[in-house]
Symmetry: C2
Subunit: 339 residues, 2 copies
């Protein structure tokens, strides 16, 4: 059995060349599988053998420098969560899978720790070919990225002047309300987070306009602000207006609300009906089956990557990118037993 020589220093093409009294480019040509360039069978064989024996591997950093392309894409979010978050985890997971098909690798950029400006530098220091972005409009990043040469595609939340792939939040909310309406609900509430997210704004807007269209009076379609995902603060107000159908801005909030109801003995859905949004329902757990909007986040990630690769290829050819476009993917309803 052949064992590659154990070394503390990586082996270069030059090392292989020296070993055989050849020039470094000759070795490089043979090993990079250049079809046009025919070398003598004899030489090819010796080069391949020696390369394997010495454990040669082409250095990707040098390659990247030469080609002006790293085959790595980055993902960045300015929200305070890491990959353990439902949303980010799903996006990253799907990206990770999709990257395989394009022979790309994925780099996680941590806003955690470094200020935005430093991060911005890192994002365009040539280590990534493109970026998948998920940020709120409060991030200073997007202003700069709009004018930078780095190809960027945003997911879930759109930003001005950047291409975006997202879910059809408005349609999701409308479908949700239609279902609630069919089940006889006439009193509604929307639980919205304090933070501003374009996707949540769209959900809220659709909540209001759709119910207005159905002639629901203002007191029966209230919007209640909560601290991020903490539903408890809203419970008193909800109970006073029970029975009520509560549309939570995301699934986690809905689960929090369900738990609170369980603890306080509030009957679901009799007194309070609960819906989520996102489709992060965990069917494995012996809990209630949450009614929610099934958002195709995997498809969002895949589509975003597809767009990003297009942009990267264009830039490689030094062509101007097309005008930024917004893609909205259709959503469906996941029925359950909480309404």
């Amino acid at each position: 059995m052949k064992t590659p020589i154990s070394t503390l220093v990586p082996v270069t093409a030059r090392d292989v060349a020296r070993e055989l009294n050849l020039s470094q480019p000759t070795v490089s040509r043979i090993l990079s599988g250049d079809v046009r360039h025919r070398a003598s069978e004899e030489t090819r064989k010796r080069v391949w053998e020696t390369a394997e024996r010495l454990g040669y591997r082409p250095n990707a950093v040098a390659r990247s420098l030469r080609h002006g392309r790293t085959n790595v894409i980055g993902i960045h979010t300015n929200h305070k969560y890491d990959v353990r978050n439902d949303f980010l985890g799903t996006i990253v997971g799907a990206l990770q899978c999709a990257c395989g098909a394009y022979h790309l690798d994925l780099m996680l950029h941590n806003s955690l720790g470094s200020p935005a400006e430093t991060l911005f530098d890192k994002l365009r220091d040539g280590r990534i070919d493109g970026l998948i972005l998920h940020v709120g409009t409060d991030d200073p990043l997007f202003e700069i990225l709009g004018t930078s040469p780095l190809p960027v595609v945003t997911v879930a939340d759109s930003l001005p002047n950047l291409p975006a792939v997202m879910c059809d939040d408005a349609s999701g909310m409308e479908q949700l309300l239609e279902l609630l309406w069919q089940r006889g609900h006439r009193n509604f509430a929307f639980l919205a987070p304090h933070i501003q997210l374009p996707s949540v704004e769209r959900r809220k807007k659709a909540f209001e306009s759709e119910l207005k269209r159905r002639k629901v009076p203002a007191h029966a379609r209230r919007v209640i602000s909560i601290n991020y995902e903490q539903a408890s603060s809203a419970l008193e107000e909800l109970q006073q207006n029970s029975p009520v159908a509560v549309c939570c801005w995301n699934d986690r909030t809905a689960y929090n609300l369900l738990r609170e109801c369980l603890q306080r003995g509030i009957r679901v859905p009799r007194e309070i009906a609960v819906t989520g949004f996102d489709g992060f329902r965990d069917d494995q757990l012996p809990a209630r089956e949450l009614v929610t909007v099934n958002c195709p986040w995997e498809n969002v990630a895949e589509k975003a990557l597809e767009k990003l690769v297009e942009l990267i290829d264009l830039r490689q050819k030094k062509q101007m990118p097309p005008a930024p476009e917004e893609i909205r993917l259709p959503v469906t309803i996941l029925d359950g037993d909480t309404i």
Copy 2:
């Protein structure tokens, strides 16, 4: 307001130098903040201004080539899951946070799609300074990595000749059995997956030896093989020997078992008591509170990164790494209502 010039091509130090009729190295020295090298105040100012105006950012790829160091570390698993998996998600999340302190970035390597050999090439092509590894012993990778110059630390499951950081699985199982014993249980079962994982083997071994020590007869400490996390196939055997305390090899299996019990009307813990392992309990959901072993996976990730950084620094100084060491972190019990 200064707006950086929008360009399709990145700006280099050479561009800045040309603009000012200076040499490229001079610009580089000033901008890289070399303290020893005093340049005239006048020049410094002009260089900084021009750099900002043109939107210059040092190219990290070139820097990496020069320094022989990328400040990126990789993470790889050969299991079929991506970052959405509880375990991997936690490890990656914790690494992501910990990387901030070391000014490192994290790259996800997808075994998904590319064969192991290709992956192996990628792992040592110079794009990462070190690797966090989580693989089963069936992976061909570890044989080769043992002799490669790339610093590697494994997590959760140790491999021969590689430093490892893991949880004290044996102690966790012993604590679990002690608790079950106190609560009066005398009939036990261990649900093990078909796949071979060193960590699970340790849990299984501890299950057997600890119960043997307590003089539990063989028929009251059975080991049942299941397909990965699917507990249902074991239910018949479990019911026939009820009441029984079931130690699942991980939390997900335990939750699956709980769900099956719920659906079939089997009382927990009366007929079947359930414990998990790992500490991936979701307290947010209105479900049963699983009794499980709280494994400090975040600490595992942090410790592994710490070790990896040490190895990287050593290699940078071209020193030999120390003999591989195994670090086991202590675990505790999370009590609940399922035993």
